[in-house]
């Protein structure tokens, strides 16, 4: 397996900076809590990954929050990730930090927004999933299994699976909100992807896609697969998901733009 995502497909200067940030992370983990070097090093490392936290916050911006608010929430998750990351976990930092940052943002929304069709019991269970996952992750040094998660929540695995479906309903609601198109105004999908954009198709490979896909919801990944794996038209996707072709078009543009920014944040 190739190296972790932060060490691949970067321009040489970015690659060096990321390598330095990674080295900083490793040294940070070895420093005593009261080491005088600690504060400055911690601040530097956090600063190096802030653009990645903003990238993750970008996927939630269509839900009616100002981007500054969301960025702050994402930074909070980043700080937690930097403080808790241990190189002994044998996972790349981005793999570790992504669910933590996304979890922080989701928790931010969860208290106020819910689809009315979801029964309260499932809402509660679904809301408890991510914090429980994070807690167990810190305790175990790895992602918990679904069974461990269920035991921790006092639920059956069946109930947890139902709660996952409920979470999918929650993200479906966001489809009805017009989405922002950061740089997508007047840009067709064909211009963002495929023959018209060799940069995107050339740079992205399976391994660098993985952490980017991990930052997408199940429904967003599904829309990508419907369009590009099943080869459906936007109208067909809209019909199957019960939303308009226009909404699918906006959503696809937004997903692709985010993926592209994740492949090379400076090319945005």
């Amino acid at each position: 397996m190739p190296g972790p995502p932060e060490e691949t497909n970067l321009r040489p200067d970015r690659g060096r900076r990321r390598a330095a940030a990674l080295a900083g992370l490793r040294r940070l983990a070895g420093l005593a809590p009261d080491d005088p070097e600690r504060a400055a090093l911690r601040e530097h490392v956090i600063g190096e990954y802030m653009s990645y936290a903003r990238y993750l916050a970008g996927r939630f911006q269509h839900r009616g929050e100002t981007s500054e608010d969301l960025d702050q929430v994402a930074y909070l998750g980043l700080v937690k990730a930097v403080d808790n990351y241990d190189p002994a976990y044998r996972t790349s930092f981005l793999t570790y930090a992504t669910p933590m940052i996304v979890g922080e943002i989701k928790r931010h929304f969860r208290d106020t927004t819910w689809d009315v069709h979801v029964p309260r019991r499932l809402q509660e269970l679904s809301a408890a999933l991510r914090p429980a996952e994070e807690l167990l992750n810190q305790k175990l040094g790895r992602d918990p299994t679904l069974t461990e998660l269920a035991a921790h929540l006092g639920a059956t695995p069946e109930e947890v699976i139902d709660a996952l479906e409920a979470a999918a309903v929650y993200s479906a609601a966001s489809l009805d909100v017009p989405v922002a198109q950061p740089d997508g105004e007047g840009v067709t999908l064909g211009e963002l992807l495929g023959a018209d954009d060799p940069g995107f198709t050339m740079v992205v490979d399976r391994e660098s896609l993985k952490p980017l896909l991990a930052a997408l919801s199940e429904r967003e990944k599904r829309i990508l697969l419907m369009r590009f794996f099943r080869g459906m038209s936007q109208a067909e996707i809209g019909a199957e998901l019960g939303v308009s072709q226009m909404q699918i078009s906006r959503l696809l543009t937004q997903i692709i733009t985010r993926l592209r920014a994740g492949v090379d944040p400076e090319a945005g």
Binding site: P144, L149, V160, L164, V204, L209, L213, K221, R222, F228
Partner: protein
């Protein structure tokens, strides 16, 4: 629900004693939820994480959808879809078998293929006469991550 059986893997090797589950449903979109539910249960049984289960059932669900093809969504199902799940040690091997009629194989160099294969560990697509067989393997990574 599971039974001991000899499972033939994509590369032709057979593993004795591996537990496998066979799900056969009418080739209609409404039945894909049955396959999705079963995969979630089997993933939980093998100690998979939530993220791993979501990605596996997404990959298998979309493959099933592709093999069901572009028939009228409200018409009666034509034919069947077979989904065999082999439960190895930390490995789920899913073989989806369906009719090849009207099914277009996605471009192996295309973006959609990359997205799908990024959600699982390996994927092979074999056209066998009138049938298409897709093998998907998703390993459990908790010990590494």
């Amino acid at each position: 629900m599971a039974h001991k059986a000899q499972t033939l893997f994509a590369d032709g090797t057979a593993l004795d004693g591996i537990e496998s589950v066979l799900i056969r449903v009418p080739a209609h979109r409404d039945y894909i939820v049955v396959v999705r539910s079963a995969l979630a249960q089997l993933g939980a049984r093998l100690g998979y994480t939530v993220a791993e289960i979501i990605d596996l059932r997404l990959a298998v669900g979309e493959t099933c959808n592709l093999l069901i093809g572009s028939g009228p969504p409200d018409g009666p199902p034509s034919g069947f879809l077979e989904c065999r799940v082999g439960l190895g040690a930390g490995t789920l091997q899913v073989t989806v078998l369906g009719s090849a009629v009207g099914v277009r194989q996605p471009d192996r160099d295309g973006f959609g293929w990359k997205v799908l294969t990024a959600l699982v560990d390996t994927m092979t697509w074999v056209r066998d006469g009138a049938m298409v067989r897709v093998d998907l393997v998703k390993r459990h990574r908790t010990q590494l991550c």
